[in-house]
């Protein structure tokens, strides 16, 4: 295995060094899970502000239920963003899935066959995205925006710009099934989060995805199948957006031509905020869930407090700016760390005796991104 290849980079991503105490200290540090502490502060603030309504089980269930679809859509972004690819079509994929499911149900299809078809179509959308971005080599930001626009046209054509309600009650059970008022979509989002966490943290594929996102060319030179990974990542995001579309159909009880796009910004906000948590500047499932809970808790608290119309927008915008600032700082720190590590490795290879011990001396500085 090459010393300074990206495989090494992938396997030498910042690890929790030292013993258990140092590991626990690092895991629980503000730098690692600051959003959790912010969430705790928010819970305390709202509990004091609205003592009669906020600190109750109903609030907890409400936060989970109201943000399940957003969480799923945010999770759909983790894999492509980790691989260095944007998918701006997820809102439209959600909308198209919603419309298609309502159309099929209205035409007499059963719930499960209709949902299976919708999932397959969502995968098809992912294939289109992947062909555009990976094979045609169009920048993912532009390419997926373009496919999103095509999907919006499809949505309008399919729906004739009208709401569809006939037959949609067949999937109502997806929204009404609950455990102590926590509805099924929450558990679906949780299951997806666990699967993604396992994929990204405990499989070689996950490490290769991160390596691809950290340095596409370096990953390719290290014999990582970059194109295959990016192709697959866009399939994952489209499929999860399709599942989100199925769930939203059950929740709303209709197919609507306007339902998808408003979910896009909150999903990206949560994914980027989540990247500043848990995984040291990289997109990850656990951080995304924490971000969704933080944003959802504050928005629910603000709703209970009957705040002015502008408050949630100011809060969400401010959090996103701070989160992206944190992400940029962490990315630069990570890049500097990696360059310093390689410099030390090269110096050690040249003069092992001289560079056997002592503090690391950074030779190269990372360019600002």
């Amino acid at each position: 295995m090459p010393v300074n290849g990206t495989r090494a980079a992938a396997s030498s991503l910042p690890r929790r060094a030292g013993g258990f105490a140092r590991s626990a200290s690092r895991t629980l540090s503000v730098a690692n899970i600051g959003a959790v502490y912010v969430l705790v502060v928010a819970i305390i603030v709202f509990s004091i502000w609205e003592p009669g309504t906020f600190p109750r089980y109903e609030t907890f269930a409400s936060v989970l239920n109201d943000n399940a679809v957003t969480a799923l859509l945010a999770l759909s972004l983790v894999v492509p963003l980790a691989a260095g690819v944007f998918d701006l079509s997820i809102g439209f994929t959600l909308g198209a899935s919603n419309l298609l499911l309502a159309t099929l149900l209205g035409n007499g299809w059963g719930a499960w066959p209709a949902m299976a078809v919708v999932a397959l179509v969502a995968l098809g959308i992912g294939i289109v995205n992947a062909v555009v971005v990976v094979l045609f080599q169009i920048d993912s930001f532009i390419g997926t925006l373009a496919t999103g626009s095509l999907l919006q046209g499809l949505i309008l054509a399919l729906s004739n710009n009208q709401t569809i309600t006939a037959g949609v009650d067949k999937v109502g059970f997806l929204a009404s099934t609950n455990l102590n008022t926590v509805t099924l979509p929450v558990f679906v989002a949780l299951a997806v989060a666990v699967l993604l966490w396992y994929l990204m943290e405990h499989t070689a594929t996950g490490r290769f995805l991160y390596a691809t996102g950290l340095g596409r060319e370096q990953a390719r030179l290290a014999a990582i199948r970059v194109r295959g990974l990016q192709f697959g990542s866009l399939l994952v995001s489209a499929l999860l957006a399709g599942i989100a579309g199925i769930l939203v159909t059950a929740i709303v009880g209709a197919g609507s031509p306007t339902i998808g796009p408003p979910y896009l910004i909150p999903a990206f906000a949560a994914a980027f905020l989540g990247a500043t948590q848990v995984r040291d500047g990289m997109f990850n499932a656990a951080g995304t869930i924490v971000a969704v809970l933080l944003l959802g808790t504050v928005n629910t608290g603000l709703a209970l407090a009957n705040v002015p119309l502008w408050t949630p927008y100011v809060f969400n915008g401010g959090v996103l700016i701070v989160a992206l600032g944190l992400r940029g700082l962490q990315s630069r720190r990570l890049a500097r760390h990696e360059l310093d590590r390689r410099a030390r490795a090269r110096q050690a290879a040249v003069d092992p005796a001289r560079h056997q011990s002592g503090p690391a001396r950074p030779v190269l500085r990372a360019r600002a991104r």
Partner: protein
């Protein structure tokens, strides 16, 4: 640096929350109920509203041959509601062998102005506008007036002057819808309601609705409570359901929600059910869509004040026909027909239907055709 940024985040949250805490939502009157006479008045009003209307509101035929082959432009706002109204207008125009073109003017001031300017640069034989205030297209309107192109509008806050030749579903009619809200709520709660009205200042017509609601509500139940919750159009279907539920949880005495328009209902029944409020809080809206009819049929929405989509759009084509033939515009121009949808008088919940069953025959009679 990361620790500092987290501190900034905490500080941001705290600052926003403190500033927001200094503001408060608007609230209404003190507690109380309505007396029997007022409740009876509301019952009588509702009984009329539940009936199927029989008259489209115009009875005097045009009395002249309406020329065929006219090109009419329908300025659509691009939403599902406007799309439906555009289709109905095309059906009406087809009866007169008119070509009704639907132009998507969008919802932003720039797109509206640009669309009207494009239409004015190639003047048609008539223009129908929906919901846009004239300020957004004053120059194109002047160009159309210079070319003697009749312009009619629906659902806009403008008067029929200076380039706009006819308006239907005006703010005074929206005031009537607001009164119908109050009549229904007082009837349904026997004068013991506590209402939150969900306002949206993006649509000036909702302000008229609120005005009518307050007038009738105070008249029939002077001591009943109401309050106003501000919402933005961008929240509809996304965060509005949880916002409404949050308000209801923080104001547990509220038992009725009056929506500024029916599209706000998207996602609300599920949000109420998740919060355990489905059996405690009811809601009413206006401008019924198939989604609302479905909600009503399933018992998730209490009622809806229907907008006469068919009668309204046919009325606009009728107005254009009168203007083009030089006949007086709607000489007995009464209000558009009105109906309150509840579970018992809904008809087919999967379709948008006319309120007046034989509206088509009435308009054909007015136009001297078929």
């Amino acid at each position: 640096m990361v620790r500092k940024s987290s501190a900034i985040l905490v500080g941001l949250i705290t600052a926003v929350l403190l500033v927001a805490a200094c503001s408060s939502g608007s609230s209404g009157n003190s507690s109380g109920g309505g007396n029997d006479a007022n409740v009876a008045a509301a019952d009588t009003a509702v009984a009329k509203l539940l009936k199927t209307p029989t008259n489209v509101g115009v009875t005097v035929p045009i009395g002249k041959q309406i020329p065929a082959g006219k090109r009419i432009v329908f300025m659509s706002c691009g939403t599902p509601t406007c799309a439906l109204l555009g289709k109905i207008t095309q059906q009406a125009g087809a009866l007169l062998r008119w070509n009704v073109q639907v132009v998507n003017a969008g919802v932003t001031p720039e797109s509206v102005h640009a669309a009207w300017a494009r239409v004015a640069s190639n003047p048609p034989d008539g223009v129908i506008g929906i919901a846009y205030p004239r300020a957004l297209f004053s120059e194109p309107l002047a160009m159309l007036k210079a070319h003697n192109v009749p312009v009619v509008e629906c659902c806009a806050p403008d008067a029929a002057t200076n380039g706009i030749d006819y308006v239907t579903s005006t703010p005074p009619e929206a005031v009537v819808y607001g009164r119908q809200y109050a009549d229904w709520i007082i009837h349904d709660t026997k004068g013991n309601a506590n209402v939150v009205f969900v306002d949206d200042k993006d649509f000036p017509i909702v302000a008229s609705l609120l005005q009518g609601f307050k007038q009738e509500y105070r008249k029939l139940c002077p001591k009943c409570q109401y309050s106003v919750l501000e919402a933005a159009t961008t929240e509809v279907g996304t965060t509005l359901p949880s916002k409404i539920v949050g308000y209801l949880r923080s104001h547990p005495d509220v038992d009725y929600v009056a929506l500024g328009f029916d599209a706000m209902a998207t996602g609300v029944p599920q949000a109420l059910a998740s919060a355990g409020l489905a059996n405690k809080v009811k809601f009413i809206g206006q401008d019924t869509d198939v989604l609302n009819k479905t909600y009503i049929s399933e018992g998730k929405q209490a009622a809806s004040v229907a907008f006469p989509d068919y009668e309204g759009m046919y009325r606009l084509i009728d107005a254009l026909a009168r203007l083009i033939t030089g006949t007086s515009v709607a000489p007995d121009n009464t209000a558009l027909p009105s109906k309150l949808y509840v579970k018992s008088n809904l008809g087919d919940p999967s379709k948008n239907q006319p309120l007046v069953p034989d509206y088509l025959n009435q308009f054909k009679h007015l136009w001297g055709i078929g």
